[in-house]
């Protein structure tokens, strides 16, 4: 079975992770722009980062027959600096034209500040102006509920945002319902200690069904592991779910969402209505 990793920060991973991913049948991965673990000192640092994830990383992945795609943006944590953010936003359109850039992401909130919300809204407008998909980071731990609600309310109230073209990531039990009820895509991140476990991800699939849901391993510079997406595949099989449903969650669903960009090349193996109905 082919697997797509919808959210992983390969800039922080070793080549051995690409080797492991291809051995586990990962055919494509997507890298949203994120915080480096320290605040960057200039807009130029972001420019170089975007070059890395849109040019060098696809080359590195291709050695392992993995298609690498990325998203560009000013990340939520550094978005609190309005001046820096607007300088970065000024050169994002140049990268949106590149062949492996799927859209704006991962935009969103970190501490739910007014500045973060301002830059979130400005990046949503940029995505709409350029007809781009949007990948959203929801805040961590105690801030997640409030921040998710702020962004859902903003996007619903905006009136011009097609929820089919927006995915919220790092969703958990207390945020999934509001995101899905508003018609957005929801992704669940398997991440030790602070996000989801493989078992809880499969619980959510059993509660909500397969539609508009994705799963990612979110490998980054913290304690994380690209292999955890495959732990979730095993968990789903262990609980007796049909193989076609496993394939829909871990391959077809990312194709349905990411394929809207036109640049994403993997194609789903079934029509989505048929796959989601479990026929």
């Amino acid at each position: 079975m082919k697997v797509i990793e919808p959210h992983i920060h390969m800039i922080a991973r070793t080549t051995q992770d690409y080797e492991r991913m291809v051995r586990m049948h990962t055919v494509a991965c997507c890298e949203p722009a994120f915080w480096a673990g320290y605040d960057r000192t200039s807009p130029e640092a972001f420019y170089d980062y975007f070059v890395h994830i849109s040019e060098f990383e696809p080359t590195r992945a291709a050695q392992y027959l993995i298609q690498h795609y990325c998203w560009v943006c000013i990340n939520p944590k550094e978005a609190d600096d309005l001046v820096l953010s607007r300088e970065v936003i000024s050169f994002i359109p140049e990268f949106l034209a590149k062949p492996t850039v799927l859209g704006l992401g991962e935009i969103g909130l970190n501490l739910n500040t007014r500045n973060e919300m301002t830059i979130f809204a400005e990046q949503v407008e940029l995505a709409l102006q350029h007809g781009q998909l949007i990948w959203i980071h929801t805040p961590h731990l105690k801030d997640k509920l409030r921040g998710t609600r702020m962004m859902v309310e903003y996007l619903v109230g905006h009136g011009g945002v097609d929820p089919e073209k927006v995915a919220f990531d790092h969703c958990e039990e207390h945020t999934l319902r509001m995101i899905r009820d508003a018609g957005f895509w929801a992704a669940m991140t398997i991440y030790p200690t602070t996000k989801n476990s493989p078992a809880r991800v499969v619980d959510a699939l059993e509660i909500y069904g397969l539609d508009h849901l994705m799963v990612d391993a979110s490998g980054d510079w913290g304690p994380s592991d690209p292999g955890t997406i495959h732990d979730a595949i095993f968990e789903m099989r262990k609980r007796g779910h049909p193989e076609e449903d496993v394939e829909t969650v871990f391959y077809n669903n990312p194709c349905y969402f990411l394929g809207q960009s036109g640049k994403f090349r993997p194609r789903p193996l079934r029509e989505r209505e048929e796959a989601w109905a479990g026929k």
């Binding site: 739910n112 007014r114 919300m117 409030r146 609980r239």
Partner: protein, 92 residues
């Protein structure tokens, strides 16, 4: 097929799921119990048991003993800042 809210539910029956998860659940609770013991044994243990974070963890323990198939969601809500609208956030 188990209880199904909007999705398909579990293909396995509750007894079969218990076979799979019993030892994991036992282990997770035991680790939590041991961690509380570790805090209480250490210097300042009595004081730290009054820490709001510890009290919240203890409230979480109570929560999982209550009935209802939404314990995980209620647990996360317990550890969340209150919900807020965009309008009220802008007032901060």
């Amino acid at each position: 097929m188990g209880k199904n809210v909007a999705g398909r539910g579990s293909p396995l029956a509750a007894e079969e799921l218990l076979e799979i998860y019993f030892l994991e659940m036992r282990s997770a609770l035991l680790e939590t119990a041991a961690a509380f013991d570790r805090l209480e044994r250490a210097a300042g243990g009595e004081r730290v048991m009054e820490d709001p974070r510890v009290k919240k963890l203890l409230a979480g323990c109570e929560l999982i003993t209550a009935a209802g198939a939404d314990r995980a969601e209620r647990f996360l809500l317990l550890f969340s800042d209150g919900g807020q609208t965009v309008a009220s956030a802008a007032e901060e």
